[in-house]
Every structure is written in structure tokens, then in C-alpha cells.
Amino acid sequence: MKNSIAVGDDIINLDKEGYLRQLEDWSEEVANLLAKQEGITLQQTHWELIHLLRSFYQRHQLSPANRALVNLVKRELGPEKGKSAYLMGLFGGSPAKISSKIAGLPKPDNCL
């Protein structure tokens, strides 16, 4: 995992696990690069989740853990998408961790 990514002339710093050090560094371009580090090419289906996560964070100041993420997606995007399997298909084995990273949210609480 690289400790920084270059966006135009800007260098954006990441922590050892690839999360943004400064949440305000996030942009859609940054999201694309963060996803690339995870081996993910962002599609429309990813973006709808990224936007959902960002508006959730703006309101609740919380990165949802897996179970809450599934329920959030179920409530906002319907039962077809509100499933672990769907989210794992998009973001891999730990969808809460990876989607929070790409969406520019803090790492979900490590106590959980």
C-alpha cells in the first residue's frame, strides 16, 4: 500500500492502511485512485454506494460497520442491494472497511 497518491500537482497522504489522513482531501478523482489501489474500477453501482456513505457520514459522523452498512443500503437502495453478498461483490471481503476508505470516511471503529 502506497503512503501517498498524486492527484495532479497535489500529493495526498494516506495512513498505513490506505485511508486518507485528511478527510477533506477527498474528491471523486481521489476515490478513483483509492479504488485502484484496492484493485477496483469504480462503476455506477459503486458510486451510488459512495454517495450514500458520504451523505450518511455527513449526517451521523459515523462510518457504518458491516451490519449497519447492509441495513443502510437495504433501507436506501432496496432489498436487492441490501445484502452482504452484493456489497462483497462490489468491494471484496470487508465491504465496510473498503467502501469507507474509497468514500473518504474514517476507518470504521476498530473497537467494532
Binding site: D15, K16, E17, D109, N110, C111, L112
Partner: protein, 136 residues
């Protein structure tokens, strides 16, 4: 020795720092007593300000009780499972080698008798202990 009729598994949760309230001292004496009576400690869990009980960087006057050292000795002697809540610990400067490396801090403060882990360990303890007692 006090004869224990049945053996009970306790989890002791400590919420306060030593030298701030009496709670940590009470928890220590309670833990010692339950072991002397033949009961078991399933887990010690240090939460919130309680994490300060596990700092190895503590100095007290010769005539004061060093609570961190007392815990250390008890945990090692009795081979207790002693867990420090990670979110509480790292924001209060209680850092083990892994956290020190992860956050590039260059120092370790956690006593080696305890380990840093998540709140899941507290929930696991509520499931697997007969009694959970909190001191704060």
C-alpha cells in the same frame, strides 16, 4: 481459606484511572479476593480512563501503592486474561508495539501483561462469564 461451594467465572471491568478515583483499587482488591476464594477471572477489561491502569510508564513515591505494578503482578502470577479497549487506549497514549508501528509513534507504554483488543472482547466476556462486575 474461604471454602467456595461453587466456582464462578467473573469478568471485572475497570472504568476509572488509578489515583483519580478509588474504583481501580476496589477492582483490584475484589479481583484478588475472588481468586483467593477459588473463583475464576474470565477476563479483566480496562475501558475508558481505566486503560491508565495498564501503563508501564508510571512512577510513584516509595510509600505510595503503585497500582499499575500491583495489577501487573496479579495478572502475571495468576495468568489472567487482561484486555485493554483499543479505542480507549490509543487516544489516551496507551500504546503497544503494533499500535506504535501502525501510527509511527516510536514508543510503547502498555504493560506487557495486558493486550490491546476491541470491545468485542467485552461482549465475548458478557457471553462467557457467570458475572460481570463494573468498577468506575
Amino acid at each position: 481459606m474461604y471454602g467456595a461451594i461453587l466456582n464462578v467465572k467473573f469478568t471485572v471491568v475497570v472504568h476509572s484511572a488509578p489515583y483519580s478515583t478509588q474504583a481501580a483499587a476496589s477492582a483490584y482488591r475484589f479481583t484478588k479476593a475472588l481468586l483467593e476464594q477459588g473463583h475464576d477471572v474470565y477476563r479483566l477489561f480496562f475501558f475508558g480512563d481505566g486503560v491508565h491502569n495498564t501503563s508501564k510508564l508510571t512512577v510513584v513515591a516509595q510509600d505510595d501503592t503503585n497500582w499499575q505494578q500491583q495489577w501487573d503482578k496479579l495478572i502475571e502470577l495468576q495468568k489472567l486474561d487482561s484486555v485493554v479497549c483499543v479505542t480507549s487506549a490509543i487516544k489516551r497514549g496507551i500504546i503497544d508495539e503494533a499500535e506504535s508501528a501502525r501510527h509511527e509513534l516510536g514508543a510503547v507504554s502498555l504493560s506487557s501483561s495486558s493486550e490491546i483488543s476491541g470491545l468485542g472482547q467485552l461482549i465475548d466476556a458478557t457471553i462467557n462469564s457467570d458475572r460481570v462486575i463494573n468498577f468506575g
